[in-house]
Amino acid sequence: MDAPLDRLLARFEERVRVLPALAGQTAVEVAPADLVEVVAFLRDEAGFDVLLDLVGVDRLGHPEAPTPRFEVLYHLKSLAGGARVRVHVPVPDDTLELPSCWRLWHAANWLEREVWDLFGIRFAGHPNLCRILCHHRFEGHALRRDYPIGRRQRLDAPEAFLLTDDPEWA
């Protein structure tokens, strides 16, 4: 077990659960309420300064652990050391909402919008949570397991204004 992970466990104790992972990778699970605190700790005190990716996962119909239905994976990387950690966050079925990390990383802005667009998971506190890959009038969330792959929506009206009040949100 590596040093940053040890420090994470020492700091958060049972609030962070180490997951069994394939290929020697490091994965932990945290509750939505602890998410921002944990990733901020990882960024500021464990050196994981890059938010590489957010991955929404829909487990509807998955052969094991189909509840809660959604999970979001945060891929963090330490630029200097090359270490990586994956933070798994289960999304509460009733609210479908996680706290936003946009204040910690500029990258979170678009990544969270993508998870919202394709899975319908909200990020509380995100200043501009609108669709990013699908058309702004698209109905439903395309990467949910119950969105049929053949369902087409013919949408061509462009969005007139993209500009936002605060350039930080663009």
Partner: protein, 396 residues
């Protein structure tokens, strides 16, 4: 939430660049609010090339995703092809044979050279230098001829296989490649010479649309765009795969984070990649180019046509697919644009449960409004080319 229709003062105007415009090199839209020629605010809209790669991947077999993956960054499909196969191998816990790994390095570096040639040619063209385009595209064309001999295809190669690669090098291919690379080196040298003393060119790109190392990290920059900010991070050195640790090469780094450095670093990297390719050809290990594992790869063609066992193995493998263990893996390689990552979620079945692409262009383009606010409109054009945003991997 923002109000999506902000008030625009009378002396300013709103201008849309794209979604279909020569400088976007694809389909993406940039909206700017300008005062005279100066950009005050800007925002980007993406998704025009969203083809649902990740959705499509959930309904086909693991190995059938390979051709789709190549269409992410279509300028370097060779790299995408083998990077996807590498990701599935990481999930399976297997490694391609040494010769296949060396061939992947070779393919990946050729893809890097071709990708950089396209990026540079188009970027230089955007700022008005047409002749450089022909210099660089001529050698790219010669490289495509070699790719065609190797894979049977030019643009979309379908050359990667889970467990190895599809074909070995044709007779005399390595020697021909070295000749073409020498020509490429000459062309690159000439273009560099033409540009480095060209005041008109330098004024267009030097100190233009700078991104600070801090912002670059916060936006998740990787690859040449990050190294242009003075951060010498490269997965080929930091987390070597396919035996990259066996080759001696430099990781070029520049310090200003401006459009010029993002261009220069690609010139540097073409040289570094050429260095690697020479070493691979000199030290190519012998042996098979693909694993012989009934659960993963197809049997040899002769075996299928002459033995019942071979025929059955072929049939079962095609019909039943590959069954990796349940779980999640992330696999990253240094693509020409930066870190190309695949998150694979498996339920143990022959089809991916979920595939997520971490594309470098997505991170780079998210920083674009920050980079161009306060600059001139013409500067934004130069900066966009230097980020090499490829809509295929941006929108997936």
């Amino acid at each position: 939430m923002s109000t999506r229709v902000p008030p625009i003062p009378a002396e300013r105007f709103v201008l849309n660049i794209g979604p279909s415009h020569p400088v976007t090199h694809g389909t993406l839209r940039i909206q700017i609010e300008a005062e005279g020629e100066t950009i005050v605010r800007s925002a980007c809209e993406i998704g025009y090339l969203h083809r649902g790669f990740e959705k499509e991947a959930e309904r086909v077999y693991w190995e059938q995703v390979t051709p789709y993956a190549e269409r992410l960054n279509y300028c370097s499909s060779l790299h995408n092809s083998v990077a996807w196969c590498h990701a599935v191998e990481t999930l399976l816990g297997v490694r391609a044979p040494p010769r296949a790994q060396a061939l992947r390095v070779l393919a990946s570096e050729i893809a890097r050279i071709m990708d950089h040639l396209v990026c540079l040619a188009a970027n230089i063209l955007d700022v008005g230098a047409l002749s450089c385009w022909w210099y660089l595209y001529n050698v790219r064309e010669r490289l495509y001829d070699l790719v065609e001999d190797l894979c049977g295809h030019r643009l979309m190669v379908t050359w990667g296989r889970v467990g190895g690669v599809a074909t070995d090098l044709p007779e005399g291919w390595g020697e021909r490649l070295l000749v073409v690379l020498r020509e490429a080196g000459e062309a690159v040298g000439e273009v560099r010479e033409m540009l480095s003393s060209n005041r008109i060119f330098l004024d267009r790109v030097e100190g233009v649309c700078v991104i600070s190392p801090k912002d670059a990290i916060a936006h998740g920059f990787t690859g040449p765009c990050l190294r242009a900010c003075g951060l010498p991070r490269d997965l080929r050195k930091d987390e070597p795969y396919w035996g990259y640790e066996r080759y001696a090469f430099d990781v070029p780094v520049r310090s200003h984070g401006d459009t010029l450095d993002r261009m220069w670093i690609r010139f540097d990297e073409i040289e570094a990649s050429t260095q690697i390719v020479r070493q691979v050809i000199e030290s190519l290990p012998s042996g098979p180019v693909i694993l012989d594992d009934p659960g993963i790869t197809l049997p040899a063609r002769e075996e299928v046509q002459s033995t019942m066992e071979g025929l059955i193995r072929h049939f079962k493998r095609i019909m039943h697919g590959i069954h990796p263990p349940r779980g999640v893996v992330y696999s990253a390689t240094e693509a020409p644009n930066g870190e190309l990552g695949f998150t694979l979620v498996s339920d143990g079945g022959p089809r991916p449960w979920r595939v997520k692409v971490r594309s470098p262009s997505f991170a780079h383009f998210s920083a674009f409004p920050r980079m161009i606010n306060g600059s001139m409109i013409a500067d934004a054009v130069a900066a966009l080319g230097s980020l090499n945003v490829v809509a295929g991997e941006l929108d997936r």
